[in-house]
Amino acid sequence: MTSDLKSEIMTDSKKLSFDSSKIQDDFPILETKINGHRLVYLDNAASSQKPEAVINALDNFYKTTNSNIHRGLHTLAEKATNAYEHCREHVAKFIGGVSCEEIIFTSGTTESTNLVANSWGNENIGEGDEILITEMEHHANLVPWVLLAQKKNALLRQIPITTDGTLDLTDINKLINEKTKLLAVTHMSNVLGTINPIKELIELAHKNGALTLIDGAQAVPHMPVDVKDLNADFYCFSSHKMLGPTGVGVLYGKKEILEKMPPYILGGEMIREVSFEKVTFNDLPHKFEAGTPNIADVVAFDTALTYLENIGMENIRNHEIEISKYAIEKLTEIEGITIQGPLDETIRGAAISFTDRDVHPHDISTFLDSRGIAIRAGHHCAQPLMKVLKTVATARASFYIYNDRADVDYLAETVKEMRRYFRG
């Protein structure tokens, strides 16, 4: 890189809301060399990297606090219980100040949607009822509803998407009707990056007497989310996409709804009293957390939330608006490359899918990997959406707090090099 170009990039980076290069220092993995190149990690929509503070929190828990929780009467058990419950309080605050009873720890967004489908869905969906999703759902917010609809003889309907990758709301007043029992929709598409107008959709669903479940796996890591303001009935997300460990997810549910729902997994911790004849269930949220939970990872997730708060979710959103704008600009300049999703950075997140007129996404990904760039190629667990887009797969570069303009420049240059390589 010439020094001129480098200083231009440096000046440009300063325009961003915060200094990504300082943030990079907090992520040990970013020092890794991949195939002899600096790692440029652009697969954040699949899973984010972890700052040293989170890695240390996990390490520290096992070194100083490890014990089972809630039952033990010894010092460590109390310390571990406090640390675990502290994270619950933190999550409750992080998503808009809800009650701790409304925060259930799961293994991830997928378990959260499955819990609702199996517990609430099994009790409340009947023959002829309608479940409304969208064409852009991830399999996690699709497969549970396909199976539930089959089992109950209910109808699964989809809100279509327009050619620019946003929801087509032309027929929304027909799609949401008195038969609709649940609207299950993604807050932000993992493929298109589209941020959906969920507040309006939730209001419309409520007017028709339906409940709402929001898949927030791609939203909570990247922007301020207030579930109370949205008035969502259920809201699901995962720790590992927001700097926290894998194996931790959250299901937020309104207390009055959760109270009426039967438990989904049965065993220890979720009970109050057990005899051979009768079982009474524990209070919320423990009713839905049977068995020993993922204590250490939950405790380290607490640290991830603090890390994000220190940067500020509003700042993160602004950073991603700017980096999306720059990436879309740079990628659309390249002959043969098409962005799949909205081009307006203000209505989208920084998960940017693209296709190449001549080169298959798997070849793109393999080539970029050889230059140190990690992206995702494939159907992104959204096969029905690929059909709608009339493609079999896309390449997806997804950005986060540690990515900067230099990463975008390197991606764009490498995509050009890739095209020369395959096209000859």
Binding site: G36, H362, R423
Partner: protein, 159 residues
Amino acid sequence: MNSSLDEMYRDIILEHYRYPRGKKPIDKVDVSTAGKNPSCGDEIDVELQVENDIIKNIHVDCKGCAISVASASMLAELVKDKPLDEVIENAEIVRKMLKGEEENLPEEFGDIVTLKGVRKFPVRIKCALLAWLTLLEGIKNFQNGDGRRNQIVSTEEQE
């Protein structure tokens, strides 16, 4: 340059990918099969003209990654004018090579030996296998008197 990358995308492979053989449609179709790789979306149509159990003509149309397209092109080159039984044996040898069970290929296999490079990228082996598994299925159907059977071969089930 990156050595394992260039080992997978050898110049010969890229040449087949840019200018695939067997693209020309054939007039008389005795065998017609389709194959797909559901996980990556590669799709292939293989058509054969068979006379006295010899492949007189082949048409291959593959939409997919460089490896699947190049492998299909090499297949088209190898099997033309060969008896079906020999082609079945050839396909088996290629499968063994891609799975690492066979190192040395007979000379007549030509460019196909360059596909060995995909073994370093395990998820791409099925891309290289797609055309061969589709061809085998077509021949099997033909030998059972059902060469035009419209069933799609999926590499996911074959592995």
